[in-house]
Symmetry: C2
């Protein structure tokens, strides 16, 4: 084991530090965020920071850096009040990663990468047709971090599109059945294999495995 201190981190080459620090949180979700601006121009960008915030009301959070290529998404979300979250599979992975390129503001990442838009009557935000699980999210609030101006965006899940067979009897969505990927660092994408499920833990009771299949 080695110990890396704050001084070591401060002394790192900028690109090396970005790769290193981005790895440390552990595995992350991969979602494409679909938005539209007030003039109707669509935008889609990958986010690896979507987190669960509560089930009732059904809330998700995500992190946006105001100085990044994601500025378009943040602006559109606050302007229109809506966005979509779309899981990414191996079949659409290259297109999803390519959406992180800094395209000109009038160029849609959908057109540039060949991903297709799909819509619900609920709201103006585009979903990604190639995604096996898409959600429409209503913007609720955001918090700007004092320490680095990063923005934490909070939204409510208003509609979920997914394959019937991925929904287990317990309510769990079988993310492996639909091919959702995980990522690590800035650029590494991973498939998964379930190791185990465990029942709600209680003091002084042995852990119980859950066995449930679709």
């Amino acid at each position: 084991m080695i110990v890396i201190t704050k001084n070591d981190i401060d002394a790192m080459d900028q690109r090396y530090r970005v790769n290193f620090i981005n790895s440390l949180s552990g595995f992350k979700s991969v979602n494409l965020v679909g938005t539209v601006d007030a003039e109707g121009h669509s935008n889609v960008a990958p986010f690896s920071s979507v987190v669960h915030l509560g089930a009732d009301p059904a809330l998700v959070g995500m992190v946006s850096r105001p100085d990044s290529v994601l500025r378009g998404s943040l602006k559109n979300i606050i302007e229109t009040g809506w966005y979509s979250l779309n899981h990414v599979t191996e079949q659409m992975l290259e297109q999803a990663h390519q959406c992180s390129a800094r395209y000109a503001e009038n160029e849609s990442e959908f057109t540039a990468t060949g991903l297709s838009e799909s819509y619900s009557p609920l709201c103006p935000a585009p979903m990604v047709a190639q995604s096996p699980l898409s959600m429409l999210i209503e913007y609720k609030e955001h918090h700007r971090l004092a320490i680095n101006n990063t923005v934490f965006i909070v939204g409510q899940i208003r509609e979920v599109h997914l394959p019937q067979e991925s929904l287990l009897d317990s309510g769990l969505v079988d993310l492996e059945a639909i091919g959702s990927l995980a990522c690590s660092g800035l650029d590494s994408y991973h498939g998964t294999q379930r190791l185990a499920r465990y029942a709600y833990a209680k003091p002084d009771k042995p852990l119980q495995e859950i066995d449930e299949h679709s």
Copy 2:
């Protein structure tokens, strides 16, 4: 594909809804959060909401529900200003899940589950000796969500303990080499296999794979 609306979500059985909504963000990191209270009692609890917030300064965020078993962690973090984040492997998975049980306030999850504490001269927060990657985090700020009172905690990475051989030349930590797990929903744990790494994407340039091994 089926469409699940807000009305459908509202009508779900509470336990089913918790399983369903918890699945939707995608794969999550698994970290044990180590803290100590002002009297020196240690606490360790699993969190699946740790996210990257920036590399310079090196920041991580995580979500805590004020009304959950994690209250102890949140209280200790704000009281002492320190916590540890510790990745979870298959070898320590049952103990890590068991830490989510509601033990009495004077009972340490370390003692109850057989996980071992380890310390750095830097701060009073305990690390988990069984973990292959541990970080010591200095508490910086927190934000309380207006919509459901959930707390988003922001901290700075002050020290990282990890195996030398997991650190690739680019700065990326090979999370598969150290056996870090991913999770989904409330109770499902997953191993991973890397599918690909891609270079920084640029408009009008084909995507390039990165090939780097430890």
